[in-house]
């Protein structure tokens, strides 16, 4: 039957994310952010990337600080818990990156347009705002039925979506749960998908619950086993948010010099997700889920 797409993080990133790629990531907003994959992008010294996302939390800031990024199409770049992303701020103020400002709704619709195979979608947001100043993907359109003015959002078709999930089979059929953010449209819109997964499981386990599947497996290009791959963001069913890391990151990114030390310690000295897990050691038990809440079974029989 089908061929396994299971590979190492290094192989997945090296094969499916050439320099200059546009990447949707951080699509679940504050949860399930694919930090392990992002760190591999930094480790491999990717250049000229376009980052696409809603509220990206600190992963976008890190990639920008590492010099991987040329362009950002996002609604918000910073640190959810502390505010400003210092690398982002420096890069914009020094004109090292181009920003196309979106709102959460418009970036969602840009990917949804890509997912649906249309070149634009209408909405009622952003009218009167200055998002139009930098974003060539926002215009207006008149409804042919009512004559009402709508905002029009141009489709975005990323080269690749990187999404972290709870469990996947080796062919790319995966279960994802928790808040979904804009992950579904990001996967559907993208030319390729890299799934990083807490756990690799059998196809049988996945297809016993086909409503929980994230996206068609045939669209997935690579599956990576990445336990703790969303740390320090929270992963529903797996671990809680590691707030301390986000708070600490604010200090560690305040100057380029501090950020260089941070990078040395967390990216270049750490060669894989497994070494990373060893580094965060104590956090693992502190963050583990202690109040379990288990779903009621569902029958898909005949």
């Amino acid at each position: 039957m089908a061929t396994s797409k299971l590979m190492s993080m290094a192989d997945a990133v090296s094969r499916w994310v050439p320099d200059g790629s546009s990447i949707a990531l951080g699509t679940t907003l504050e949860t399930a952010i694919p930090f392990a994959a992002g760190h591999e992008l930094m480790r491999q010294g990717k250049k000229g990337l376009t980052l696409i996302g809603p509220i990206s939390d600190i992963l976008f800031d890190q990639l920008i600080g590492a010099g991987c990024v040329q362009r950002v199409q996002a609604a918000w770049v910073g640190n959810v818990i502390t505010g400003v992303g210092y690398n982002f701020r420096r890069a914009v103020e020094e004109q090292r990156i181009v920003v196309e400002d979106h709102s959460n709704l418009t970036v969602s619709l840009a990917l949804q347009a890509g997912a649906m195979g249309v070149t634009f979608l209408p909405c009622r947001t952003a009218l009167g705002s200055d998002l139009y100043m930098t974003n060539p993907g926002l215009k207006t359109v008149v409804c042919p039925f009512t004559g009402q003015k709508h905002a029009a959002v141009a489709a975005i078709v990323p080269d690749v979506a990187i999404v972290h999930v709870q469990r996947s089979d080796v062919f790319g059929s995966a279960h994802a749960w928790g808040n979904m953010g804009i992950s579904r449209e990001a996967c559907m819109a993208s030319r390729h998908i890299i799934l990083t997964a807490e756990e690799i499981v059998s196809t049988e386990l996945i297809t016993r619950d086909p409503n929980r599947i994230l996206t068609p497996g045939f669209k997935v290009s690579a599956v990576v086993h990445a336990p703790w791959g969303a740390h320090p963001s929270p992963m529903p069913g797996c671990y809680n948010r590691d707030h301390a890391v986000f708070i600490d990151y604010q200090k560690q990114s305040r100057t380029p010099e501090l950020f260089a030390s941070w990078t040395e310690k967390w990216i270049h000295t750490v060669s894989s997700i497994h070494e990373y897990v060893a580094c965060i050691g104590n956090a693992c038990s502190r963050l583990s889920i202690t109040h379990h809440d288990i779903t009621e079974p569902v029958d898909y029989g005949y």
Binding site: T28, L29, E30, T31, P54, I55, A74, A75, W76, V77, G78, V80, I81, G83, V84, G85, F88, R89, V92, E93, V99, D101, H102, S103, N104, L105, S108, L109, Q112, C123, R124, T125, A126, L127, G128, S129, D130, L131, M133, T140, Q148, K149, H150, A151, W177, G178, N179, M180, G181, I182, E185, S233, P234, P236, N240, R241, H243, I289, H291, D293
Partner: protein, 257 residues
Amino acid sequence: MDIDTGYTQSELMVAAASRQIADGEVVFVGMRLPLLGFLVAKSLQAPNAVGVYELGIIREMVAPEPILTMGDLPNLYRSQWLADTRDTMSLLQQGLVDVSFIGGAQVDRFGNLNTTQTGGDGTAITRLPGSGGACDLACLAHRHIIIMAHEKRRFVPRVDYITSPGYGDGKGWRESVGLIRGGPAAVITTLGVFIFDPETCEMVLASVHPGATVDMIAEQTGWPVRISTYLSQTDPPTRQELSALRRFDPERYWTGK
């Protein structure tokens, strides 16, 4: 923290924000202080308020543990819906969201809000995080409440960039740009609470926080402040409000000052 009054400025702001929520309303809940304001309202006068979160969450119960961000797992636990961001934005765009809260770096007298960048037009740019969902909330909720620190550099005659539209340059502007409803209903600052004149769409000072004065407010505002004929003092947080608030922010992470 102000020892004399027993509460901080942030606590007063959260309490004032929470009072804007009526029971049974659908509230689009933003990060930080608004998140706390919603939890306080939900614990007190608005037990049937429904919380909508841009992450793709709808909750009718408060989280079982204190949370720092809306993505903390207790905020997903036993929610009424875990869905797409687009689903929550669809509720908003349809007009099913009564009220929302947003913060900002700059606001002007028509309630236009800037969280994208200050400067420009020849001066150096200072870059901020951007809209997130704020632009959507300001465009599409039936009303939105602005929460921000009251400083002259923030209360400017005209924002450098409109991230979240208020009333633009006055009455009729929202309709003219194609916005179908909404607009700011109040601005809660570290010094007082403003509402908007329905005729001119200008900000009007409605109440002054305990310890603040109209003069202090005028000094920290970049345009001549209009004052309501019904100007009052903001009610300080009640014991119930403070106790709910401290249950949700026990480490005083958000409301320590």
